[in-house]
C-alpha cells in the first residue's frame, strides 16, 4: 500500500528528472537532474530490497561518474547550447516521429509480454534466510561470476589508462612552445 504510493511518487520524480536531463539547456542542470535521477533510482532499488545495488548506484554513479561529467563541463566551461544554430530539418522531424513510434511499439510489446512464469528460488524470504541481499549477491558475484568480475576489473584498469592517455595534454601542441618533441610516440 504505502510502498506502492511511494513508488508512484518516485516514478513521477524519476520521469520528471529524466525529462529534465534531456530537456534542460544548461549542461550543469542536466547533470544535477541526472544525480537526482540516479538517487531516486537508488531509492527504488532500496525499496526492492536491493540495498547493495542501491548503494553501488549512489557510490559509483552519483558519486563518481556524474562527478566526472560535472568536472568536464566545468573544465570546458561550456556555453549554453545556442538557439540560433539549432536546425531542425525534415529528416529530424521524421526521425523524431519514428523514435516516438518505436516507443509506442515497445510499450505495446511490453504490454503484450505474458507474465513471466519461471520463478527462481531466490524469493525475498529465501534471501533474508540466506543472510541478506548483499550476502547473496556477493556469493553469486564471487562464485558464478568470478571470471567476469576479474575481467571487469581489468576493463576498469584499461579504461583508466586509456582515459589518462587520451586526455593527457600533448606537450608538443602546447601553444607558445613550438619545439617539436617526439613525445611518447
Amino acid at each position: 500500500m504505502t510502498q506502492l504510493h511511494l513508488f508512484y511518487v518516485f516514478a513521477a520524480l524519476v520521469t520528471f528528472c529524466s525529462v529534465m536531463v534531456v530537456g534542460s539547456r544548461n549542461p550543469v542542470t542536466s547533470a544535477v537532474f541526472l544525480v537526482f535521477d540516479l538517487f531516486l533510482l537508488a531509492g527504488i532499488y532500496a525499496m526492492m530490497e536491493a540495498h547493495f545495488v542501491a548503494a553501488i548506484q549512489v557510490l559509483v554513479y552519483a558519486g563518481a561518474i556524474v562527478v566526472l561529467f560535472v568536472f568536464v563541463i566545468m573544465l570546458l566551461n561550456l556555453e549554453q547550447e545556442s538557439h540560433g544554430k539549432v536546425r531542425v530539418s525534415i529528416p529530424d522531424i521524421v526521425m523524431m516521429g519514428i523514435t516516438g513510434l518505436s516507443f509506442v511499439i515497445i510499450a505495446f510489446l511490453v504490454a503484450r509480454v505474458p507474465s513471466m512464469a519461471t520463478v527462481g528460488e531466490m524469493t525475498p524470504e529465501a534471501i533474508a534466510a540466506a543472510g541478506g541481499n548483499t550476502y547473496v549477491v556477493g556469493m553469486v558475484l564471487f562464485t558464478k561470476y568470478l571470471w567476469p568480475f576479474e575481467l571487469a576489473s581489468i576493463l576498469i584498469l584499461l579504461a583508466m589508462v586509456a582515459s589518462i592517455v587520451i586526455a593527457k595534454k600533448d606537450k608538443a601542441a602546447k601553444p607558445g612552445r613550438r619545439r617539436t618533441v617526439n613525445a611518447n610516440q
Binding site: 526521425m95 519514428i98 523514435t99 518505436s102 511499439i105
Partner: protein, 644 residues
Amino acid sequence: MLLWLVILFPLLGAALNGLLLRKVSKTVSHIVGASALIASFACALTAYMQMMSAGGEGQVIFGFDWLEAGGFKAPFQFILDRLSGMMMLIITGIGSLIHIYAGGYMHEEKATWRFFSYLNLFVFMMLLLVLGDNLLIMFIGWEGVGLCSYLLIGYWYEDDANAAAGMKAFLVNRIGDIGFLIGVFLCFKFFGTVSFSELKDIIINGNALTGPQLEAVSWITLALFIGACGKSAQLPLYVWLPDAMAGPTPVSALIHAATMVTAGIYMMTRLNFLYFLAPDTQMIVASVGAATALFAATIAIVQNDIKKVLAYSTVSQLGYMVLACGVGAYAGGVFHLFTHACFKALLFLGAGSVIVAMHHKQDMQEMGGLRKYMPITHAVMLVGVLAIIGFPGLAGFFSKDEILWKAWIGGGPVIWGMGAMAAVCTAFYMTRLLMLTFYGPNRSDHHTREHLHETSAVMWAPLVVLAILSAVVGYLNVPHVIPGLPHLLFEHYLSPIIHVPAAAAEHWPHLTATYSHSLELGLMGISVLGMFLSAGFAIVLYKNGPSPTAIKLKKSFSGIHKVLTNKYYVDEFYFKYIVDPLKDMSLFLWKIVDTVIIDGIVNGIGQAFMLVAGLTSFRMSGSLHRHAMVVMLGIFCLLTILLF
C-alpha cells in the same frame, strides 16, 4: 669402404679449402687440394684392383636410404664395375695431374683457396655422377658438376663476361638437365625404378616389355639424350662450352675436356641396354654426334684464340663419342673418351703453359716460334697434336678409326663421311694451332718476348706423364686389321657392361656380323690419307705464321670465313629468337599483365566499391545524430517485424 674414401677425400679437400683455410697461403691450398686428389686416386686404384682381382664383377655398395616417397625409392648407393671403375680412375688420375699442374698455373693468383675448393668439389661431384647406382644420384653429380663448372668459369668474376659465361654454361646445362629429369620421370612412370641395376634386371632378365613401355623407352632415351646434349656439348646445346674457356686453363682441361663433358657418353653407355632398345633414338644420337663433330671442326678452323680452337675441337671430339654411342659402339665411344681425356688434357695444359708464358695472351696470331723458348712444352704438345689428329700409332688413331669404322657399318656412308670430314678438319686446325704457336717467327711484342721461358717442373711434369699416356693408351684397343698386337683388349674389358637386349637384337645386326678386313683397311687408309693431306696443307699455309696464301684464301672465301668466324651465328640466333622474345614477354607479363591487368582488376573492384559507397553515402553528413538515427531506424524495423 675404400670407395667412400675415394669420394670423401675430395669433399674433405673442398671443405678444408673452402671453409677453414681461407686465410692461409696458396701453397697450403695447393697441397691440400692436390693431396686430396692423390689420396683419392690411391684409394680408387686400390678399390679398382680389388674389384678386378675379384673377377671384375660389378658390385653395389649401399650407403643409406636417401629419398623415399610413395613408390619412389632412391637409396644412396654406389655401383663399382668396369665402366665406373675406369671412369673413376680417369677422373682421379687425370684430376691429380691437373691439380698438380694447377698449382703452377695459378701461381700468380693472390688466394687460391676458392679455386682448389671448387676443383675438389668438382671431383667429388664427378665421382658421385660416375659411381651413383641410380639416376638420381647420378643427377646429383650431374648438376653438381654443372655448379662447379659455373663457379669455376666465373672464377675471375670481376670480369662481367666471365660471370656471364658461367651463367650461360649453367643455364644451357640446365636445359639439358630438364631433359634428363623428364627421362627420370618417364623411367619411374613406366619401370617404377630409377636404379641402373634394377632397370637392367627388368630389361635383360625380366618379362617382355609391354607396348607402352617399349614406346616409352624411345622417349626415355631421347629425354636422357637431351641431358647428354647439354652436358656433352652437342648440337644444339654446345654453345656454352666455347664460352666456358673463360675459366682458368686447368679447369678447361679437367672439366671441359677430360671429365665433365664426357658425362653424357658415360650415361648413355651406362644405359646402353635402354638405348639398344630404341633404334630411332640411336639414329638421332648418331646424327647429332656426326653433325656436331663436323660442325664444331669447321668452326675450329678459323679460330685464333688457342683455347677456343681446343674448345671447338673438344666439341668435335665429343661428337665422335656420341656418334659412337649412336651406332652402338659403346666400347669405341668410351675408349675414345679415355684417349681423348689423355690427349685433350695434355693439349689444354700445354696451351695453359703457353698462355702463362705469354702473360695470359691467348691469341695465336701473337705467338709463333715458341719452340725455342719452351722445348718441353713443344714436345708434349706435338705428341698431343699427333694423337688427336690420328697419327698412326698414337692413341687417337686407334680410337678414332674404331669409331669411323663402326660408323660405316652401323650408320652408313653419310655418317662415316661426316666423321671423316671432321677428322680431316681436325688434322688441319690442330696442325694450324701447332704451327702458329710453336713455329715460324715470334710475333709477340717486345715485352712479352723478353719474359718467354719454359714453365716450372710442377707444370711440365704432369704434361710429360700425359704425353706418355697419349702415346701408349691406344694400344689397349688395337683393331683386328692390324696384325701382331693383342686385339680389342678394351672392347673385351667392357663387354660385361654392354648388353644388347634380346628384343632389340634384330636392330643391331652389325654388332655381331663379320666384315671383310679389306674394307676396314681401305677406310682407314682413306682417313689417314685425308689427315696427312690436310695436315700438310696446314703446314704449308702456316709454317711461318699465316702465309699470304692463307690470307688470300681467307679473302676469296670471305663469306664462308665470316660465317665460320662468327660460329654460324648460333649465339646470335639464340639470343634474337629465344632469349630476347622471352625477355620481352617477361617484361610484358610484369608491366602489363601484373601491373595493369591483374592489379587493375583488383583496384577496379575496390574502386567499384568506392563508387557504390560514394553513391550511397551522399546522405552521410558525418553528423553523429544522423548515424544514431539510422540505428534507430533499424531498431524500428526490427521492432515492427517482432510486432507483426
